[in-house]
């Protein structure tokens, strides 16, 4: 499998109290990669490192086969970026912002830009400083898409947008991805949003990448098990036990990763009884994953 984005041992010190440590990110070509994490987990810093906006202390970054930050201008010519906060010049009109942006990208598609502007109902003669948050969000997405990028890096692109605008933005994104083989790297803390559109997921917390796997595995692989008569020592379990907590009566509640139905036989082998397997949705799985990462099992 080839990767649109790959980092190895990436380290960056943002402050005395926060750093990105040994980050090994693998974003497959053509994937919709959801980059999850709570606020302050290092998502935006990681994105800025990937784009060459920040220089790492150690490690390597490869984006679209370009070494970053050395070759970031060439990579940026093939990448659409929507930052977390509006970054456009407020005194330009929408039309002027489009012309300005187009000047830097030979692949800019005016026909599609015009279509998107009409779809998004953007007032082309209005100044950016006077646009609503939703309109600004749509304009940033328009600029990123109309340059016809091979890679889209979106940093919380729908954060703070109302549901209608959010749907418009995501529809435009999915429409583009369906037409091309573009890779999308989208960060968010809106778990349900990513659950619907992404096929890969990476989870950041406190500067660490704590999980990276296909969305399907993430959704199906994290389960809550109700177990009774379990011994203290488990030996070689075929799944990862993230946490064990006392439940009602003699039962224990286990949070496990990498679960598959045939693994029920494991409990017979250790003399325990598996009473129930509970599916967790992505949000529950995400919350449990963070919880177990922050409070390692005793």
């Amino acid at each position: 499998m080839t990767h649109a984005i790959q980092t190895r041992d990436l380290t960056y010190r943002a402050s005395k109290t926060f750093e990105i440590r040994d980050l090994a990110l693998n974003v497959p070509h053509g994937s919709l990669y959801g980059f999850l994490g709570p606020n302050g987990s290092g998502k935006t810093t990681t994105i800025r490192l990937i784009l060459g906006l920040l220089r790492p202390v150690a490690g390597s970054i490869s984006v679209l086969s370009h070494s970053i930050p050395r070759e970031s201008p060439r990579m940026l010519g093939r990448t659409g970026y929507v930052p977390e906060r509006p970054h456009l010049y407020p005194m330009l009109t929408v039309e002027e912002a489009m012309r300005y942006h187009a000047a830097f990208y030979p692949s800019w598609d005016w026909k599609w830009a015009d279509e998107l502007a009409a779809t998004f109902l953007l007032p082309r003669q209005n100044k950016i400083g006077g646009l609503s948050k939703g309109e600004t969000g749509k304009l940033m997405m328009l600029l990123a898409l109309a340059q016809r990028p091979e890679l889209l890096v979106l940093d919380e692109p729908t954060d703070g947008l109302d549901p209608v605008v959010r749907r418009d933005v995501l529809m435009a994104l999915l429409d583009y991805v369906s037409q091309t083989s573009a890779t999308v790297f989208i960060s968010s803390h809106l778990v349900h949003e990513l659950e619907r559109i992404c096929d890969w997921v990476g989870v950041m917390d406190r500067g660490w990448l704590i999980a990276e796997l296909p969305m399907q595995s993430f959704k199906n692989g994290i389960k809550r098990l109700r177990v009774s008569n379990a011994p203290a020592m488990l030996g070689d379990a075929p799944f990862v036990v993230l946490s064990r907590e006392p439940g009602e009566g003699a039962h224990e509640l286990w949070l496990v990763r990498g679960w598959q139905p045939p693994m029920t036989q494991f409990f017979d082998g250790i003399g325990a009884n598996l009473r129930e397997v509970v599916d967790l949705d992505l949000e529950e799985g995400f919350v449990e994953l963070l919880r177990t990462f922050r409070q390692p099992q005793s």
Partner: protein, 220 residues
Amino acid sequence: MFKAILFTQWRWGRVLVATCVVAGFAIPVFSVRNAGGGSWNGPMWNALDLLASMQSYGPIYVLLAGFAGIALSTSAWAPDHAGRHVYALSLPLARWHYVLLRYGSGVVLLVPVSLALWIGALVASVSTPLPTGLHAYPGALALRFALASVLSFSVIFAVASGTKRSAGYALAVLLGLVLADLLISLFGGTPVVIESTLGWLFSSSGVFGIFTGRWMLIDV
């Protein structure tokens, strides 16, 4: 790309440019119209009175050149500073290339100001019969103005393009000079550090030497 960057810079600096263009044209015209107490009697002017009057306008040219350069260089970076340079850094060009484009755009916007001053100086000099022995130097004045405005633009552009840390270093140097003078005066000496530094910078061989000397539209 250059056209796009020039356009943005024009968009947020056009009021400044227009103001400087008007001032650049008006100052030489007014300097001649008001010479000799505004009596406007051409050849009958006393040459020394005329020279004194021209000389009094010298600092105004200097101030305009400094203002044009400083104001345009500050406005060149202001929107990028406000956006924490995210947009500029995410564009597909090397940092030095972007800085060069912004710098070039600023210099281009200074051209109409110098041009307006040259035209104003030409209009003023051709419409004025001069006393014998005096000559008008519209080209030299405009060239000097252009160089001075580009110099002030370049210095402030360089400081403004740096990080907060580099701006802090510049400030620290200034504070160091003030502190040195303060210490000298505390020990009963004559504070000369700032004076001699400024003297060196603005001497005829100093970096800012162009701002000093004779800024005369009409001279011997």
